[in-house]
């Protein structure tokens, strides 16, 4: 069975399926791949030629179509639970409630059954504090004012310089970095909220 070209075609097909299924929870993705692989192995038999393999995969259908069906069948179920919605909202904007709302959001996230551990880790770390962190960024940077960075260059005795970085707009690079960080701190929590909303498992029927 494990001969050159036909085997390669099967591997490519399963790889495409894996890529298409990337957005699914891991258990679902593995299950789907295992089922499809079992089907393919039985469909093509022991010594398939290339044409037989292509015909079998053709009947099986496009990996994207199969995965779309998996999504469709998930979404056909009832919506996600109140706790999941609450967790997403609080993780995003709870930080504005003196930071406490975000912490409540984290607790709701971790006690929810709507997500896998990996998804919960992403939800917690991107970005701690949610959108509020972006708001506090200028305050934090402004309060620090200029920060000295000690740069040591080689040689003995070591030559030590102190380079001052001021948020009061010394260089264009600083501006770009701060602006980039700000944009990241706004976009990342929103993207994470969208991610959690899409990954949330619906309530059991």
């Amino acid at each position: 069975m494990r001969n050159g070209a036909p085997e390669k075609i099967v591997e490519d097909y399963l790889k495409r399926l894996g890529v298409a299924a990337r957005g699914l929870p891991r258990a679902e993705r593995r299950e789907l791949r295992a089922q499809i692989e079992e089907h393919v192995r039985l469909a093509i038999g022991e010594e398939p030629d290339e044409a037989e393999v292509r015909a079998a995969l053709e009947r099986l259908g496009d990996p994207d179509e199969i995965v779309a069906e998996q999504y469709g069948r998930r979404e056909a179920r009832r919506g996600i639970g109140g706790q999941a919605v609450g967790a997403i909202v609080l993780l995003l904007v709870g930080g504005f409630l003196a930071g406490l709302g975000w912490i409540v959001g984290v607790v709701m996230l971790w006690t929810s059954v709507a997500w896998t551990t990996r998804e919960k880790v992403i939800g917690t770390l991107l970005v701690p504090g949610g959108l509020a962190t972006a708001l506090y960024l200028p305050l934090v940077l402004g309060a620090e004012g200029c920060s000295g960075i000690v740069v040591r260059s080689g040689g003995r005795p070591a030559i030590t310089r102190v380079v001052n970085h001021c948020t009061g707009a010394t260089s264009t690079l600083d501006h770009v970095l701060v602006a980039g960080l700000f944009v990241f701190l706004v976009i990342a929590p929103i993207a994470t909220a969208v991610f959690l909303a899409r990954r949330a498992r619906p309530l059991p029927a």
């Binding site: 789907l32 089907h39 039985l42 259908g61 069906e69 059991p204």
Partner: protein
Amino acid sequence: MVVEPRGPVFSQLRRGVLEYCVMAALRAGERYGYELVSQLAAADGLLTSEGTIYPLLGRLRKDGVVTTTWRESASGPPRRYYSLTPAGHATLERFSGEWMRFRDAVDAILDTRGEG
């Protein structure tokens, strides 16, 4: 309106009844995936692509109407066998009854065409 075997009308109908056809194919006893899919594929016009049965089986299992068991096979690695749970049998019974009423109603309307 365009009525074609692969058009929107029949794809909606197929989508609606496919899960019951899967359950019906399991009524007589357990089947492994390839066997089940081959049986459904043999029914004209029921399946557009064989692979989409697997997501459907996954959902039926979550809904508690189908269960999976692993079985050794005479040749090759163990296979997943699907079978209908008691809840599945009950659901299928209810659907069959409703389907016959629905089918008869549609047939009756379609057949009155020539008589009017």
